[in-house]
Amino acid sequence: MTLLDVDNVTVRFGGLAAVSEVSLSVPEGIIMGIIGPNGAGKTTLFNVIAGIQAPTIGRIALAGRDVTSMPPHHRARRGLARTFQRLEVFGTLTVRENILVAADARRRWERGVSPRVVADELLERIRLTDVAASTVDALPTGTQRLVELARALAAGPKLLLLDEASSGLSNFDTDRISSLLRELVEADGLTIVLVEHDMPFVMGLSDRVAMLDHGRLVAQGTPTEIQEMPAVQEAYLGVRR
């Protein structure tokens, strides 16, 4: 079943089309990678899916239901969670409180959740237990990114959008996140869409990859297919046809 349907979405900022005529569907239970050079419109597309940016044209559907005119919090209650490329942590709260805020909110639409248990479990799983009591603003960027990931997971999403989750992380952490994400998809049935600049990371992890360039969807396929496409090579390796 398709979990996320992006249908012919265009976003214009004045004269600039940051996203144009993008259609994309993400089936349940896969990891989908989105790549593309700087300014390709990846973050803007995420904002449209999450409801922070209204599309100029086009529709978004979550699990078959049109959510185009829904505010972000209603989409979240339908199982959408995300992280931000430019971090949006709750800076004056502690790491644990950041996670608790998400787990508390979740109790509104999911019964039988114990925020404390969720928080402790995630702190353990993402290995943030050591810094659990630190104020987030005082932590390095890499750790803050992990806090965002933990917070998004605490919301108990079905669909997780990760915007450059690995940037600023050590190689060790990247590997750790990589296997965690796989595990989430395989064991917990999560669906993940991730935007990445780190090619080996995204190619190694994704089941499908889509590429944006100048706001347009220029290629889509399995990692191997994508790597062989001329458009991709042109954009990434500067090869001219």
Binding site: A76, E88, T92, L93, E97, V101, R151, A155
Partner: protein, 747 residues
Amino acid sequence: MSQRVRRTVVAFICVGAVVGVLAPAWAGTPITTENVLRVVLFALPIAGIYAISATGLVVIHSTTGIFNLAQGAIGMMCAFLFWELSVNQEMPRSLALILVLFVIAPAMGLILDRFLMRRLARAPLATQLIGTVGLMAALLGIATWIWDPNRSYPIAPFGGDGGVRIAGVLLTWHRIITIGVAIVVAIALRHLMLHTRLGVTMRAVVDDPDLAAMHGVKPGRVSSISWIIGCMCAALAGILIAPEIGNMSAETLSLLIIDSFAAAVIGRLRNLPMTYVGALMVGLVVTFSTTFLDLGQRWSKLPTVLPALLLFVALLLLPQQKINLGRVVRTFKMENQPSWRSALVAAFVLVGAAAVAAPLLSDVNASRLTSGIVVGVILLGLVPLLGWAGIPFFAPYALAGVGAWATWRFQEYMPGVLALVVAGAITGIVGIIASLPALRLRGLYMALSSIAFALVMTNLVFLQPEIFGQYRQLDRPSIVGLELDSPQAFALFTTVIYAVIALALTWLRTSRFGRQVVAMRDSEAAASCLGISLLETKAAVFAVAGIASGIGGGLLALSQRFASQEQFPMVAGLALILTLAIWGVGMTSAPIIAGLTMAALVIITHDWAEGGWTNALELAGPGLAALALVSAPRGQIVQIVEHAKYHPLATVLRVGALFAGGFIGVRFNLPGAVGFLLAILLYLVADVLGSLISERRRRATAGGVHGDPAASGADGAAVGITDPLTKITARALDRRLGVSNLEKVLR
């Protein structure tokens, strides 16, 4: 709701309201060409003044990012200076005019920019606004100090008495000159912006300050020039408006200019031509209402709040402010989260101290104490709003007034204490209504809308016959047979209520809800993407604020045994916020200290050391202190606590000396001024002694000073210094780095 639907709805409501007021109030003035012409001709000079003033606002805001709430006060100061020079010192008028406009006003702009505004430019929005409110209060205070408010200060209109008769309508020379000046200002600024190097530079800064700086633009110079232009506009507006209002008073003059906010907002705070259009609209609406309407008792004050209403409508018609992404402005941890236990202990100590002290106080002193604590309860409502949620809401008295009214209204149906609770609930609901603009407006626009809200409440709603149309008498309640009639008992009663509300707030802050509110302040985008409804959360915060401030308002009415509109003026509300901000907006301990500070200032002003300089103290004191806020945006309590941590002895000495001075003053019935001076003198001596001692101790213990890393200041953040760069931390840095004296460099 889509933009179009919303605009239609707003338009319908406005038309409905206008028709609803117009139909019964129509004065029957025939709509003749002459009358219409009269409206237009009278609107033009008013519009001219608003336009000039708003131009100053727009120039300053668009280049420096600061919205100058003191614009009116600056104009007021200049108008008074003009009076001083031309009337009192008998200087030739033209010379006085040139002096004020081209020497004094630019000098003011330059000084303000250099010493205050540049530092404010990097502070968080709330601090910026409070800084300019502080400036307003300080200028008001200074003006009342120099120019006794009980005398009159007439300025003759320019161009004498005559005028030009256009189709039977007399337009005085002064008004013709006003219109002319407004046009000249518009043309001059347009020329400056479009055709001079300076203008190009200024526009570049507006478009992209970083890029402009990269191309060698000196931002400091641009900001100086903006402030000079802004102050000159303010002076011009002030001097032109002064002859129009028969008796010029510092307060009316400072507030008249709030009317120009609407014009500036219609110009979206950056478009000068649209600002002129906005000014014209405000002028037309005001003159229309005074020409064609015969407003009865109920709506008699409507013309004075029309600009505020227009401002409100203009704000609601602005395009929805998007959820900000990427935290441009650093969030500040405005609140300290005391542990539940320490809060409980503090509450008990407070009530215990009041229980011991109250019976010892004279009636007068008990009432004074009560008035301070009552203000504290009103301010408690602002703790969740300003401190936790970071919503700049500047209308505490608007909520308090509702509480006072509800207490009076329900007093006859139920026991007094219960009426107070009901009043809290009702004000909570009003708070939710007041939160509606907050759902669309953020930052500066939210602050402006709350000021408009305060004006409309005090000058229109509270004057309604059903509210405070008449003198409303209240009787003090009794709890389970305990009479609260004596001032001492009532002082204790208010203290207990303060402690209960403060404890409730502490509990709320540590609860799920408190976390959620702070999360929303830190990142609205992330909060809403986690399924948190911003709408509900903000409404809930406003409801909490309404409950606390409403109970405070009820207490205020009970303590004075009556309720009236004059108890809740807008400016005094701003002064309250100033005082709260000085101590720290986010802590439940700050409001009572702020309330007592206010009470102390009132005491000094009115009966301790009456006359002369103390008259100014009530406003100038908090005003000047608020300016000090620039260096301590999180408030004095945090500062003092931190200082006390490193220099406990000095702190004890200082506080002890202050109390000793006060005690000696009161105990030996010294004339107030002497006691007050003694207190300050002792404080200073103790301060010097204390710093000497702590200096020694510090040298003896060579350990490093560890600040709370979350306690971030604005200045050094860019270079990775997260503590506020105060002298103390600078010294600590010195020692660690082995540099001789960073402190000197700082200065």
